[in-house]
Symmetry: C2
Subunit: 218 residues, 2 copies
């Protein structure tokens, strides 16, 4: 699949792009400026000579892709979606965004009473299906393909078929994706990000994650 | 410790009481009526002849205990706390309550924009310290002391010392308690209950739970 990652120069976005490119997907790294996107893509390409990775600005990236991944800080979500809204129509938007509290990132917040994913859905309109996923994964080991990722991905969205596609992207990145219900439940995954950051701070670790237990082995 | 469980006749409350009594705590099962509390306590006592378990109404239970556990449906929270508010003063209230969506329990909801735990804190006042815990544990295996519980407990509250006490109660019940930040983060644990219920339904299982990964082994 052709996957654009808006804000793909960041640690999490580039790490996911790295894993998806290694799994055979065509990855487009988007950034606010074309030059930054290209630089990040070149860096990834150097580490994966066989892969199909290129970089450009966010709007071009979103226009060229089948699936668009939003991986920007919450503070940049609204402006980024304003830029790409027109070219997103008819596509799936997978949002990785989790709002973090100010001044303490480890305290969860709901600036509008809605999850960031629901805000995104309202902004992009009904012709874009928004799915929330990857909020709780640590970027630490994404670039090391040999490193097993000890975490699950909660996937929230309205349509089972969309969530199946995202579950496939989870598998391709070395994780188990789990249907966590409708987009209204995205606040749980977004809030868990703050909880996990707090656990990282208190235990002086970098990669706290979650696993769902009680499921039959696959 | 002397632990009262308000709504202790339910599956989760009685299961926790069973494990705490087996660990040597004095357990008081509270119910809306004295007779129901006594009946539930007698049943637990029959299975644990050595343990100290008794039953009474919620107000007497809360008055007699050092730690009070709130294990009622969300719909009964406000009325129950109105009844026990006076006798709670100066104590710790551990709330297990998670509001579930209507009509779909697997969709999370925040009736007031606050977590049920924060609503409880507002209602009981500053002389009671509210700690949220045990929202995400399955009652299925609580009565089987030999059954290992494959889940962690997220503990949210304002004071580290209170959370340490609750972490001890987690250990005594066979689980690992994890400091998940301030009471504002309780919405995550409460929302996870809806997510886990949905996972149970979709996978036809009864005991989905969560584990925090990335922590050093104890």
């Amino acid at each position: 699949m052709k996957i654009a990652i808006l804000g793909g120069t960041g640690k999490e976005g580039s790490g996911l792009g790295f894993r998806w490119a290694a799994a055979g997907h065509e990855v487009i790294i988007g950034s606010r400026t074309e030059a930054k996107g290209q630089r990040a893509a070149e860096e990834l390409q150097a580490a994966l000579p066989e892969a199909a990775i290129r970089g450009c600005d966010n709007v071009t990236a979103a226009a060229d892709a089948e699936i668009v991944v939003l991986s920007v800080p919450y503070e940049a979500q609204q402006a980024t979606l304003t830029d790409v809204r027109a070219v997103l129509q008819g596509k799936m938007l997978v949002t990785v965004v989790a709002p973090l509290g100010q001044p303490k990132a480890r305290v969860m917040r709901l600036p509008s009473g809605l999850s960031a994913a629901e805000e995104a859905q309202m902004q992009v309109g009904r012709n874009v299906t928004v799915v929330a996923a990857f909020q709780n994964i640590s970027a630490t080991h994404l670039r090391d393909l040999e490193h097993p990722l000890d975490c699950d991905v909660l996937i929230c969205g309205e349509r089972a078929a969309d969530k199946e596609i995202v579950a496939g992207l989870c598998r391709d990145a070395g994780m188990r994706g789990i249907n966590a219900g409708p987009l209204a439940n995205a606040v749980v995954a977004e809030g868990l990000t703050a909880v996990l950051l707090g656990i990282n701070v208190r235990h002086k670790i970098s990669g706290a994650g979650i696993r769902i237990t009680g499921l039959p082995e696959e």
